[in-house]
Subunit: 424 residues, 2 copies
């Protein structure tokens, strides 16, 4: 008999079918047993004879008849006639997967990740993540961007600083890519508009709810821009479509988190960083510390301002000062054509216009004290005419964190990496 | 004036428009100058006054009138009225981008990668690559697979052996993922069917036309299989659709390489490895060296056999011996449920059924002498019932190499990594 997927059972009333899946719950009632069985498409209650020897966690095959039953979740249940164990759970599960909420602290959730991921509410996070990837790919292509894959083992650090990991590369010392920055800019000279979905690695020794040391960046770079608002406009359009698709296709998963997703405005408010600092001081009586561009509390209040004044969950903060932006950022007086995009008060994307003139780039590197060593291929490519351009890097997992209101971005990574954690 | 994309010019006959792009060729003829200008959508010949001060490689903006001209490529040319330089090429290009063929040796091609990628024929490779990514994503989703992203910094090597790169990870020693093997198997316990498009890293000290040290693997893992032919059948279906889409959407790029792409058969021939060795000996009088499973020459002849006997560019070689397959491969007597897929005589995918029983896995590790250390999370997940499953890892760049008949797989990587090369 062919396996029937559980989502199809409503079409097989009174028919004899076979399903396969995992037992999530067992309840005995007199002479019968109720099994809650899930496959990747749905869940069904199975009524069986109490003689069967199965346990929660087992993977089984069931033959039986589909019956309409108003009391059952989904309106149908299955009367089992034959049950076979496909794979047996041989050790007690470390925690209960049967309740609606998993209620584990973050460390337990991650230490037992191979099992906690099986909980329907945790699964929902990664169903939404799948939709996010799908929609970003689709929208970027529709906007004329070409998908590229650039190397993650690099000869020199693309973002400078000290937050890169070192790799032993045969006889050489290499580093892991902090971003695809150099390569996507070079590709503007080839395809004008490119995007990449790829791993980035940041050796940041922080323990926060906002950081992981390896994540998936949704990158883009676009050529022939007039100014950096061309970039914010494009990102606005893309995030609007992506959120709309997640909202539509992810409804059942969002519901598990009571997540209310507002539509993205056609024009996300753009406020200069220097402006938002003033606003935050005046409106919310909070002074952003001098030694930072903006701190987490400042981001939160900027998000609040966007919601209260523009009914927007998103806000662009623009014109970051020169000192807080990397050497490749296009200057604009003491400020730059660099921006951040916040979603519900958390930075989810960083972007800006880049320098595309060779001499200006060399000047800016000198001003920043950035050595040219190892970057010649990048710098020299600007000798050969690359049009004005810019782009963004967006933290895919942070989008999901904010969508669902998760406590930590680590919850939105299948197997997150932090200072102490490289297993599982 | 709004920029018009070059692919649109046929709709603007006798209209005044603006285009932007790069000059690929300049030819002077009496009082006029012909410029070949390309943007990311097409190419057009521009007729200008000889007084203009532009050079090959410059990025320019042109206002002018579109005129029908039978002699021009595409049937239209542009009479320039105003030309502005957007970005100037300030150093002579290292080679000629104007000829139909680029004709550089591999080292020059890669040393000057930031420029060689601009050649239309090289661009075509990565246009096809973009289509490959797009179609793999689409088809996998249609087949019910969920896209996942798994970590690339690992606590222990997933494929064993010595061909992994070491990373300094804070206080710990970590390695770069040779594959997403452990994680995709664990995810079968969550979503049944998963796929990943991600970077993999192999510290192989080889100089061959078939190897790079970092590549993009198209991975998949599927649960509830009856035997490993469920996997080869699924891969057959997927590769058939992917190739069909590339053939359809990539026509203009394939043409540049005179690449003739045969349809993938509904049933790609499956031959046991032990069988193909006999066939190769008998038919082609070649003895595959004893110390290898199959060598490049053997693969080539297996490909020839598939073409001559089944009119197929693809062939599955199945039942690899135990000694040549990793510890997680399902045994089958002295052989295993492991296979390779060859395309035009080159391995493009490796896959098989995996062990899903905890005790069998422990036994197999002992037989192979693989230490458990650092893999506990992986092994223990099989205590908690994972259904029979298997999958594949497919080298995305090798598919493109074989499609186009490129000499080296490095030509199908934007910025390839080999033993000596981490720049550009």
């Amino acid at each position: 008999m062919e396996r029937l997927l559980i989502k199809e059972i409503a079409n097989y009333e009174n028919k004899n079918v076979q399903i396969k899946g995992r037992i999530f719950n067992i309840r005995k009632l007199g002479n019968i047993v109720f099994l809650v069985v899930r496959d990747y498409t749905g869940v069904v209650q199975v009524v069986a004879n109490k003689e069967i020897d199965v346990n929660s966690g087992d993977v089984i095959s069931i033959e039986g008849i589909i019956k309409k039953d108003e009391r059952a979740k989904g309106g149908y249940e299955m009367k089992a006639e034959k049950i076979e164990i496909i794979a047996k759970n041989i050790e007690t599960l470390p925690f209960d997967l049967e309740k609606d909420d998993i209620n584990l602290n973050l460390n337990t959730l991650l230490d037992y990740r191979t099992i906690s991921l099986r909980h329907p509410k945790i699964q929902a996070i990664f169903r939404l993540y799948d939709i996010l990837l799908k929609s970003y790919e689709r929208v970027m292509r529709e906007e004329g961007f070409v998908e590229i894959k650039t190397p993650k083992i690099l000869g020199s650090a693309s973002e400078g600083g000290a937050n890169f990991f070192k790799v032993d590369y045969f006889e050489k010392k290499a580093v892991l890519a902090q971003s695809p920055q150099f390569y996507k800019q070079i590709m503007v000279g080839v395809f004008e508009n490119v995007f990449e979905i790829g791993s980035v690695f940041r050796a940041e020794p922080h323990y926060t709810t906002r950081h992981v040391n390896e994540y998936i960046s949704l990158d883009a770079e676009m050529g022939y821009i007039d100014n950096f608002y061309d970039i914010t406009k494009k990102l606005n359009k893309i995030i609007k479509e992506v959120i709309a698709e997640i909202k539509k296709e992810g409804e059942e998963y969002l519901k598990l988190y009571n997540a209310e997703i507002s539509d993205v405005p056609n024009e996300i408010p753009c406020v200069k960083l220097s402006e938002i600092k003033k606003i935050i001081k005046e409106k919310y009586d909070y002074e952003i510390p001098e030694e930072t561009d903006i701190d987490p509390k400042g981001e939160e209040l900027a998000g609040r301002y966007a919601k209260e004044n523009f009914n927007s969950d998103f806000i662009f903060l623009t014109h970051y000062p020169f000192e807080y932006r990397p050497f490749y950022t296009m200057p604009d007086g003491k400020e730059t054509g660099g921006f951040d995009l916040l979603y519900k008060g958390l930075e989810i994307a960083t972007g800006g216009q880049r320098i595309n003139d060779y001499n200006q780039l060399i000047d800016n590197m000198k001003k920043k004290g950035v050595p040219i060593d190892g970057m010649e291929f990048y710098i020299n490519s600007f000798k050969h005419a690359i049009p004005p351009h810019g782009g963004w890097g967006m933290g895919s997992e942070r989008i999901i964190k904010q969508l669902l209101g998760l406590d930590s971005v680590k919850e939105a990574v299948l197997f997150p990496r932090d200072v102490k954690r490289i297993i599982p």
